[in-house]
């Protein structure tokens, strides 16, 4: 069983929802990323989504665009990010790490080389935003043969027919993009999300995570009631931006923001168990 599947199995056994923070690797400075990952785990992260910065992040709003720009100014590359994961694994062998980004950096390294390196350093999953199942044939085969989960997106615009196809390709979990828009753009509508998750579950037994529109403890707790995982991105990255000039203080600040969400989620999880 993959580290991701095991993580979800354990959480489900405890009636808990996974909390998945997203941070862009190398933002605002490369040395910050590994300590930040450890701090996030301590604050309650179950899985870490590590963004691979790209010069042209078409699916991202201004907050993550700027994070990419800050990271790229430091010459962060896919290679150096794989090194970060390796470092992280020196002290943490249980928290799954998912790389999230765009196709071109993977394409530039070469899928085969990426698969080999990622497996060795302990990457658990890959989410390539601009590579739908239609284009992922060769890539998915290589990820499969190197035991790396391929995570795919489902959107509000995804038809039932596509959901079926995505479910066939997906491994680890399915990521539901809760809004029509770029990352950080708007707040999600919990009723719409609930309905869509029901539909997705008709096609897959994989855990379903929700991301893109979660901004605070309240929305995190609301989503946790219906989803298997809550993904928080822009809110954390905004906090990173605010601390860009004080990187020493950054891991603690971001971690305390995440801890708030963890508390909010746990409180609701408990309430619904006792109710």
């Amino acid at each position: 069983m993959s580290r991701i599947s095991e993580c979800f199995k354990n959480l489900q056994a405890d009636g808990q929802t996974a909390l998945i923070p997203y941070v862009t690797a190398g933002d605002p400075e490369p040395w910050v990323t590994v300590p930040l990952m450890h701090a996030l785990v301590e604050a309650g992260a179950d899985i870490i989504e590590l963004g691979v910065p790209f010069s042209d992040p078409m699916s991202d709003g201004p907050v993550i665009q700027k994070a990419c720009e800050r990271a790229l100014k430091n010459d962060v590359t896919l290679d150096s990010i794989l090194d970060m994961v390796k470092q992280f694994r020196e002290k943490n062998s249980h928290t799954p790490v998912v790389l999230m980004g765009y196709s071109n950096p993977l394409e530039a390294m070469g899928y085969q080389k990426f698969a080999e390196k990622a497996q060795v350093v302990g990457v658990d999953g890959v989410l390539t935003v601009d590579m739908p199942p239609e284009e992922s044939g060769e890539f998915k085969q290589l990820m499969d043969s190197h035991d790396i989960d391929t995570i795919f997106l489902v959107a509000p615009t995804t038809s039932a027919q596509r959901m079926k196809k995505i479910a066939e390709y997906a491994k680890g979990f399915i990521y539901y993009v809760s809004i029509k828009g770029v990352t950080g753009a708007a707040a999600l509508e919990i009723n719409e999300v609930t309905a869509k998750l029901e539909e997705i579950r008709r096609y897959t037994s994989l855990p379903v995570g929700v991301g893109f529109g979660i901004r605070d403890g309240r929305s995190a707790a609301a989503v946790a009631q219906v989803a298997d995982a809550v993904v928080v991105g822009s809110t954390l990255v905004r906090c990173i931006e605010e601390h860009a000039n004080r990187p020493q203080e950054l891991p603690a600040a971001v971690a305390s923001l995440l801890a708030e969400m963890r508390h909010a989620i746990n409180a609701r999880d408990l309430a619904s168990v006792s109710a």
Partner: protein, 406 residues
């Protein structure tokens, strides 16, 4: 190139899922997948619908002014002392460039699909103007994304778009040029996918855009092929066109692809020279990668980050190129060459003075290459150049090079 590849070309490319060999495809976020399938279905349906075609042909005739003539540039031919030079006069189209051929087609499609809002990206502003023009006519809301740097260097076109009722949004991210405008337009589309039609201005983007824009622009080559036969009794020996995203070039080339005697030459912007690293020539100096929905040649670093491009002409200042050109390069059916800013500027002045035609700076790249090519050919041979647009929009840039300011 294997002959069979060319003999079956029209049937073979792109394949069902939009690939030209390894290039092209549909590399977009899941939120847009539904929209591009919807577009593909609509396009397939109307492509062979006689009523749709008739409406488009009427617009191209009465609104755009087609067919555009071919003109035998006799003065310039004499001066260069080689092949006969013919110009396909897309500069005479309404709005001043080839771009309108495509916006007419896509806007009619948008209307049939019941979309009420149009968005576009633009570099030089020609596509933005052509989009604002059709939107005004159809009474549709129109938003044009334009890199902040391009807003500054194409001020006149910005004003034209505003007069036509479009909202022009300066894009401040990244390099503030065409690629960033495309990113921002895609972000808008993701957000407003239900009512919005994205009119892409070149043969880029996810499938079906590269094939659809090619088809709309192919009117250039269809007309020109017949016009050359009528005027000279034979096909030209070479076609030459500039390459930004590649739409005016593919529009000219496509109907000639199976005419193996006809050489096809695309001219990219070498900017300050390929060695300087400041250019916009992905086919000549780039490597394959994935950007803006398709796999193609890109200007990028070894880690797969898109790097900054440069060209004197905003319409060429783009790090990618249509996937079909990538394929035509690989199979050897077309050749791609480069011309520097300085060479293009010289050709701009040359055509203006010898023929009384002021070309766009983009077009001037094609002209500059022909000034080298023509003298190596004989007088019984001919070259057909796509004059993709007129130079009115570039007065500012050219004057500034001469130290003048309006």
């Amino acid at each position: 190139m294997p002959d069979t590849q060319i003999d079956d070309y029209f049937k073979t490319y792109p394949d069902e899922s939009g690939h030209f060999g390894p290039y092209g495809g549909r590399f977009v976020g899941e939120t847009l997948m539904g929209a591009i399938y919807e577009l593909e279905e609509a396009y397939k349906q109307y492509k062979n619908d006689p009523q749709f075609q008739a409406e488009m042909d009427k617009d191209l005739a009465d609104f755009v002014g087609r067919p555009s003539p071919i003109y035998h540039a006799e003065n310039w031919t004499k001066k260069l002392g080689g092949a006969q030079i013919y110009l396909k006069r897309e500069d005479l189209n309404h709005t001043g460039a080839h771009k309108v051929n495509n916006t007419i087609g896509q806007a009619l499609l948008a209307k049939r699909m019941g979309k009420t809002r149009i968005i576009a990206e633009t570099g030089a502003g020609q596509h933005g103007v052509a989009t604002a023009t059709v939107a005004a006519r159809l009474g549709m809301e129109c938003v044009v994304y334009m890199g902040a740097e391009d807003v500054a260097r194409q001020a006149q076109n910005v004003y034209r778009m505003k007069l036509l009722g479009a909202e022009v949004v300066p894009v401040q991210s990244g390099s503030k040029t065409l690629k960033d405008a495309l990113n921002e337009a895609l972000r808008d589309w993701v957000t407003n996918v239900d009512d919005t039609f994205y009119i892409i201005g070149t043969v880029a983007g996810p499938h079906p855009y590269p094939a659809m824009v090619r088809d709309f622009q192919s009117v250039i080559g269809r007309e020109a092929r017949q016009q050359m036969l009528n005027t000279t009794g034979k096909l030209p020996d070479a076609l030459v066109a500039c390459i930004g995203g590649g739409s005016n070039a593919i529009g000219l080339f496509y109907p000639f692809i199976q005419d193996k005697s006809v050489a096809m030459i695309g001219v990219e912007g070498a900017g300050h020279g390929l060695q300087s690293g400041q250019h916009s020539a992905p086919l000549s100096a780039g490597t394959p990668g994935i950007l803006h929905g398709n796999r193609t040649y890109l200007i990028q670093d070894t880690a797969g980050q898109i790097t900054e491009t440069h060209s004197i002409s905003a319409g060429l200042d783009y790090p990618g190129v249509g996937p079909e050109h990538a394929w035509l390069k690989d199979i050897g059916r077309a050749q791609y060459v480069t011309v520097t800013d300085t060479e293009a500027l010289d050709a701009f002045h040359e055509l203006t003075r010898t023929e009384g035609i002021i070309p766009a700076l983009e077009t001037s790249h094609a002209l500059a290459y022909v000034s080298k090519l023509a003298p190596t050919m004989s007088a019984d041979q001919s070259i057909l150049i796509n004059v993709s647009g007129r130079g009115d929009k570039d007065m500012h840039t050219v004057a500034a090079m001469a130290g003048l300011n309006f």
